[in-house]
C-alpha cells in the first residue's frame, strides 16, 4: 500500500543521510510530520540533522510513529489553513498517534514523547488540545516576515533546557495568523506555572496576549512556538542577528540550540 512506502519525497537538495559527528546524538530519532500543505519539513529535518540527530519523515495518513524519540510538527499551511489554521491536520491519524504518545510514552517507556510544534505546527497542537489557546490573524492583518527577538522564559522543557532563563535569541518570524490568544484564566495559569516558554522581545509583532510566542503543556514535553528556529540553524542562511551579539550576514544560528537541547536531553536522560 502506498502509505507504508511513503516517505517525504527524497529531498532534492538536502542530504539527510550524512553521517553525524556524535554517534550517541545520531541515534536519537526525531520524527518530522508532513501534511498536505506543510512547507518547512525539509528545513526541520535539516535542523535535526545539523544538531546531530536523525530525522525521520512521518506521513500524516500513517499512525506508526516508527520508534521516534521526539516529534517536530513543522510549519506551513496544512490544508491551506482552510476552516481554521491547523484544524483539519489535527484530525489526521498521525496526530492521534502523536497526541497519545505525548501524553504517555517516551524513549524509556515512562516519560512522555517530546513534541515541538512550529508555526502551523503550533496551531495544529492547539487544535489537537495538546496546548492551550489559539492563534488568530495578526493585529496588523498582514503576513509578516522578519528576524524576531525572543526571550526564553522557561528552561523546564527538553527543547529549552540548554538555555539560561531569560536568555534572548533571534529566529525568523513569518506568519499571517500569529496572534496568540487565550482566555484570562488560561493566561494566568500559563504565567503562574511558568509555561510561557518564549516571549517576544523588542516589541510585540502581532498583538499576541502577554507577548506570548511559545507555550508548553503542564508536563513541559509539548512546546509550541510561532517563530521558526529551523530557519536559524546554518551560517549563511539564517537571520542576520543573534541574541548573543553581532553575527555576519544571515549567520544567526540561535535556533539550532533548540534542537541540540532536545538531543542532549534525550541522550543524558
Amino acid at each position: 500500500m502506498a502509505d507504508s512506502s511513503v516517505t517525504l519525497e527524497t529531498p532534492l537538495i538536502a542530504d539527510l543521510g550524512q553521517e553525524a559527528a556524535d554517534s550517541r546524538l545520531a541515534r536519537v530519532r526525531v520524527g518530522v510530520v508532513a501534511f498536505p500543505g506543510t512547507l518547512d519539513e525539509r528545513d526541520a529535518a535539516r535542523a535535526v540533522r545539523l544538531a546531530g540527530g536523525t530525522p525521520v519523515p512521518l506521513w500524516y495518513k500513517d499512525s506508526d510513529l516508527q520508534d521516534v524519540d521526539a516529534v517536530v510538527v513543522p510549519g506551513g499551511f496544512s490544508y491551506g489553513d482552510y476552516l481554521r489554521a491547523g484544524a483539519i491536520a489535527a484530525k489526521a491519524p498521525m496526530m492521534t498517534a502523536v497526541a497519545r504518545a505525548a501524553q504517555s510514552r517516551g524513549t524509556s517507556g515512562s516519560s512522555p514523547l517530546p513534541v515541538l510544534g512550529i508555526c502551523n505546527g503550533f496551531q495544529v497542537l492547539t487544535e489537537t488540545h495538546l496546548l492551550p489557546g489559539s492563534m488568530i490573524k495578526n493585529d496588523h492583518l498582514k503576513f509578516l516576515c522578519r528576524d524576531q527577538r525572543l526571550a526564553v522564559e522557561s528552561t523546564a522543557t527538553p527543547w529549552t533546557a540548554a538555555f539560561e532563563p531569560g536568555e534572548e535569541i533571534v529566529v525568523p518570524l513569518k506568519n499571517q495568523d500569529g496572534q496568540y490568544v487565550a482566555d484570562e484564566g488560561t493566561l494566568a495559569e500559563l504565567e503562574a506555572e511558568g509555561r510561557v516558554v518564549f516571549r517576544y522581545a523588542g516589541g510585540n509583532p502581532n498583538g499576541s496576549r502577554n507577548g506570548i510566542a511559545g507555550v508548553a503543556n503542564a508536563r513541559g514535553n509539548v512546546v509550541g512556538l510561532m517563530p521558526h528556529p529551523e530557519h536559524a540553524v546554518e551560517p549563511g542562511f539564517g537571520p542576520s542577528s543573534s541574541g548573543s551579539g553581532p553575527v555576519a550576514m544571515r549567520s544567526g544560528t540561535d535556533g539550532l540550540r533548540i534542537f541540540s537541547s532536545l538531543l542532549h536531553q534525550l541522550v543524558s536522560a
Binding site: A2, D15, L39, K142, K174, H231
Partner: protein
C-alpha cells in the same frame, strides 16, 4: 448525464449550416482571422472550435504581433550563448546547465490585466501560473520574484491595487513554500490604470529529470488532474489580456481566475513524484486558454494525434457548455500523458495526494485533434493550426514624430534643473531622493513575503540579486535579478532595453555570480499603434543585440501588449530577468558593508558623466526628456567579470551596483544595509571625470559599482583594475563609529534620520 441547456454544435451540423452567425468578434477574433479559420477547416467552425481558435489565436497565446520580432532571440546567437543551454525558447520554460549535473529552469511572465481588475486574485494566479510552467519541465520550484509597477503613489486608486497585489503575491507564494527573493517596485502615473504584475519562478532538477510536454505514443492516456474545471477565467486570454481597457464596456471581473495555493502545493509534490517514478511521458500545465491550449499543444508537439471526450472532464459547475469547458482558465490543473502500463502507478500517486483526475482520451496516429461530447464530434482540427500556425502580423511600426521633441528636451538647463542643489543643500537632496517612492525601502512589500522557507536563501532583497543554494553539499547556487528602466526606454527604446539588460547583468555579477541566461517579460501598449509597435521592435532589437554582446542567451519569456487605457500607453517596460551561477553561494557578496569592515577602502568602479536625463532626480523634479545614459556592454561585461573574480578571490567584501538614483542611492543603501556609516570624498573623482559633485551623486552613468576592499587586498585589487584598464577611484572608507554617510566638504547625513526617511514612505501611504 448533464442536463443540456444548449444546442450541441457538432462538426456535422457545422458543415450543414454554413451560414450560421457566430460570435467571433465577441470572442476577440478579427474578421480576417475568422476567414482563415474557415479556410483551414473548409467549413465554418463549430462553437467549440471557434472557442479554441479564438483563445489560441489571441495575442496573449499566439504572439501574433510580436513573433516576427522575437525570432531575433533565436537568430542573434553565438556558440558561446548555446554552450549551457539545454532547452531553448518554445518550451514551457528554457533550461540551463549550471554544472555538476544540475539544471535550472526559470521564466518570467505577466499577469497585468487581471491584476488591475481583481488585484489579489490576479497577482496570486500570476504566481501560480508561472510555477506550473516550472513544474511541467520536471523541476522543483525553489524561488519566486515579482517585479511590480503601480500608478502614482498618492493616487486614490493605487492603495487598492498595491494592497491586493502584494497580498496576492504573498498569499499564494507563501502558501507554496517558495521563498520570494527579489523583484522591483515602481510607481509612475503611466501605470495608473495598467499596473504591471510580472512573476518569475525558478526551479532546479538533475539533467536526467528534464521533461518536455508532448503527446506521443499511440494508446497513451490523456489525463486531466488537479482542481476541477469551473467557470472562472473564461476568455481570460482573449478578452482580458489582448484588449485595451475601455470604460464603456461591462465589467470584466468574471474573466479573472481564482487561485487555490493549497491545491497547487499538493500538485507540485504530486507532479514531482510522477516525474521521479517516470510514471508520465509528459505533463502540460493548464494556463491561458485551459484545455484548448493543453490538448492542442500536446498534440501539436507530438507526432500523432489525440482524441478527447470532453464529457469526462470533472466539473465544478455542471452547466458549462463544451466551449466554456475548452476555454475555462480554472487554476491548479495539469494534463498528463501516461502509458497504459503506468496507469496503476499513476492512480496510486493520485490517491496518495488525494488529487482528483479523469482520463479524457488517448493519443492516436490520426494527426488530428478530435473532441467529442456525448458521442458527437464537436472538434476536428489539425492541432498545429490551433497551437503553432496561428496568424502572424507584420504590424506597421514607425518612429513617432514626437520622439525628436522628447529627445531634445534635455534635463540639464531645463526649468526643472533651475535650482540644482550644491554644498550643504545636497544633504536634503539625498534625503529627498531616498524617501522618494521609487528609491525608498521596499521593506513594507517584501516583509509580506517569506524569504526563509526551504532554508537555501543566501541573499534576498534588499541585496542586488536573490541568491539561492541548489546543492547543499557543494554550495552551488543561482543568483537572479529582474530589472527594467521604462523611463530610459521611453526616451530611447533600443538603448533603454539595453540598459535594463545591463542592469540585470550587473546586479547578478555584483552578487558574485556569473550571468548565464535571460528571460524577459516585455510589457508594452497596443501593437495596433505604429508608435508603440516601434517601441516594441526597437526594444526587442536592443535586447537581442545586447544579449549577443554579453554572450547570454534568452531562454524564454512572455509578451504583454495592450497595456493602455483610453489611448494612454504605459512607458515601454522590457523587464529583464538575469540568472547567474555561483560555485559556492557562501561566497556571495552583500550589497552593503558590515561593522567588521570598519576601515575598509571604498572604491568606485567606472566613470561618471553628467547623465541626468530620465534619471530618478529628473523624475523627482517632474522631468522626462532627453537621451538615456549611454550603454557600453563591453564595459559592463568587463565590470561583471571583475566583480565575479574579485568576489571569488576575496578582494571585495561588499559590492553594490550604481543605477537608478546614482551614487547617492548606492552609498545610502550600502550604509543602510547593515547600519554602518562611511566617510566619502568625491573631490578627486569628480575632477577626474569632469563633473560637479551634484552630477557625481545623481548622474546615472552605467557600468559602475561601489565596492569595499579589505586593506590587505588593496594592492591586488588595484592591480586587477589596472591590468584590465578599468577606471577605479578610492572614494572613502567604511566607518563603523560615525553612524553617518559623511560626504566630506559637502554634508553629513545621520543614518537614523536617513533610515527613517527611507523606510517611512510606503508605511505612510499604505499602513
Amino acid at each position: 448525464m448533464t442536463e443540456q441547456q444548449f444546442n450541441l454544435d457538432t462538426v456535422e451540423h457545422a458543415a450543414d449550416t454554413p451560414d450560421t452567425e457566430l460570435p467571433w468578434a465577441e470572442l476577440g477574433l478579427k474578421e480576417n482571422e475568422f476567414d482563415d479559420v474557415k479556410k483551414i477547416l473548409g467549413r465554418r467552425p463549430t462553437a467549440a472550435e471557434l472557442a479554441m481558435y479564438s483563445v489560441m489565436w489571441s495575442e496573449h497565446c499566439s504572439y501574433k504581433s510580436s513573433k516576427v520580432h522575437l525570432k531575433q532571440f533565436g537568430q542573434k546567437v553565438t556558440e558561446e550563448m548555446g554552450k549551457d543551454l539545454m532547452v531553448g525558447i518554445g518550451e514551457n520554460a528554457g533550461v540551463t546547465d549550471i554544472g555538476d549535473g544540475w539544471a535550472v529552469t526559470f521564466k518570467i511572465e505577466s499577469h497585468n490585466h487581471p491584476s488591475y481588475v481583481e488585484p489579489y486574485q490576479g497577482a496570486a494566479t500570476g504566481v501560480g501560473g508561472i510555477v506550473r510552467d516550472i513544474i511541467s519541465m520536471g523541476a522543483r520550484p525553489v524561488a519566486v520574484m515579482d517585479p511590480l509597477r503601480f500608478g502614482a503613489i498618492d493616487h486614490p486608486d493605487t492603495a487598492r491595487v498595491v494592497h491586493g497585489v502584494v497580498a496576492g503575491v504573498g498569499g499564494y507564494g507563501n502558501s507554496l513554500g517558495l521563498p520570494n527573493v527579489g523583484g522591483e517596485v515602481e510607481f509612475d502615473p503611466c501605470y495608473q490604470a495598467n499596473p504591471l504584475v510580472n512573476a518569475l519562478a525558478v526551479g532546479v532538477m538533475r539533467h536526467e529529470d528534464i521533461r518536455l510536454a508532448n503527446a506521443s505514443g499511440v494508446g497513451n492516456q490523456v489525463i486531466l488532474f488537479g482542481a476541477r474545471t469551473g467557470g472562472d477565467g473564461i476568455g481570460g486570454a482573449s478578452v482580458l489580456a489582448s484588449e485595451s481597457f475601455d470604460d464603456s464596456k461591462p465589467s470584466k471581473r468574471p474573466a479573472v481566475q481564482v487561485g487555490d495555493p493549497f491545491a497547487e502545493k499538493v500538485l507540485i509534490e504530486c507532479c514531482l513524484e510522477l516525474f521521479k517514478g517516470s510514471v508520465v511521458e509528459g505533463i502540460q500545465d493548464l494556463g491561458a486558454a485551459g484545455i484548448s491550449c493543453a490538448t492542442s499543444e500536446l498534440a501539436s508537439n507530438g507526432e500523432g494525434g489525440m482524441h478527447v471526450d470532453l464529457t469526462q472532464v470533472l466539473l465544478r459547475d455542471p452547466t458549462l457548455t463544451p466551449g466554456e469547458i475548452l476555454m475555462s482558465e480554472s487554476q491548479e490543473r495539469m494534463m498528463a500523458v501516461v502509458s497504459p502500463a503506468n496507469m496503476e502507478s499513476f492512480e496510486r500517486i493520485m490517491e496518495k495526494w488525494d488529487v482528483e483526475y479523469s482520463v479524457l482520451g488517448e493519443v492516436n496516429d490520426s494527426r488530428r485533434l478530435t473532441i467529442e461530447w456525448d458521442g458527437e464530434i464537436i472538434v476536428d482540427v489539425d492541432p498545429r493550426t490551433v497551437a503553432h500556425e496561428g496568424p502572424t502580423y507584420q504590424r506597421p511600426y514607425e518612429r513617432p514624430e514626437w520622439q525628436d521633441a522628447v529627445q531634445a528636451d534635455r534635463f540639464p538647463g531645463s526649468e526643472a534643473d533651475a535650482a540644482r542643489p550644491a554644498g550643504t543643500d545636497l544633504r536634503g537632496a539625498v534625503l529627498e531622493l531616498m524617501a522618494s517612492p521609487n528609491l525608498c525601502s521596499k521593506g513594507w512589500v517584501t516583509d509580506q513575503y517569506d524569504r526563509y522557507v526551504q532554508g537555501n536563501t543566501a541573499l534576498a532583497q534588499p541585496d542586488d540579486a536573490g541568491v539561492v543554494r541548489v546543492d547543499e553539499q557543494t554550495g552551488l547556487g543561482v543568483a537572479l535579478s529582474t530589472d527594467a528602466n521604462p523611463r530610459y526606454a521611453y526616451l530611447d527604446p533600443y538603448e533603454g532595453a539595453r540598459a535594463s539588460l545591463a542592469e540585470a547583468y550587473r546586479n547578478v555579477a555584483t552578487s558574485g555570480a556569473r550571468p548565464v541566461a535571460v528571460s524577459d517579460c516585455l510589457n508594452f501598449g497596443s501593437p495596433e499603434d505604429p508608435a508603440i509597435m516601434w517601441q516594441f521592435a526597437e526594444a526587442v532589437r536592443g535586447l537581442a543585440d545586447g544579449c549577443m554582446e554579453l554572450g547570454v542567451p534568452v531562454t524564454g519569456g512572455n509578451v504583454s501588449l495592450y497595456n493602455q487605457t483610453g489611448g494612454q500607453a504605459i512607458n515601454p517596460t522590457p523587464v529583464v530577468a538575469m540568472m547567474g551561477v555561483l560555485d559556492d553561494v557562501g561566497r556571495r557578496t552583500p550589497s552593503g558593508w558590515e561593522a567588521d569592515q570598519d576601515g575598509q577602502a571604498i572604491y568606485l568602479l567606472g566613470e561618471t558623466a553628467e547623465e541626468l536625463d530620465g534619471s530618478e532626480w529628473a523624475r523627482l523634479r517632474g522631468h522626462l526628456g532627453g537621451l538615456p545614459p549611454k550603454v557600453d556592454l563591453a564595459a559592463e561585461r568587463q565590470l561583471g567579470d571583475m566583480l565575479v573574480n574579485m568576489s571569488r578571490d576575496g578582494m571585495i567584501d561588499s559590492a553594490h551596483d550604481v543605477a537608478q538614483g546614482g551614487l547617492a542611492a548606492s552609498l545610502s543603501e550600502a550604509c543602510l544595509r547593515f547600519g554602518v556609516g562611511a566617510r566619502i570624498g568625491l573631490g578627486e573623482v569628480a575632477e577626474r571625470d569632469g563633473v560637479d559633485t551634484f552630477a557625481m551623486l545623481f548622474s546615472e552613468s552605467q557600468a559602475r559599482a561601489v565596492v569595499a576592499v579589505p586593506r590587505s587586498e588593496e594592492v591586488r585589487f588595484k592591480d586587477m583594475c589596472t591590468a584590465r584598464n578599468f577606471p577605479y577611484a578610492r572614494i572613502g572608507v567604511v566607518d563603523a563609529e560615525n553612524g553617518a554617510l559623511d560626504v566630506q566638504g559637502e554634508f553629513s547625513l545621520d543614518l537614523t534620520e536617513l533610515r527613517e526617511a527611507h523606510e517611512g514612505t510606503l508605511r505612510r501611504h499604505f499602513g
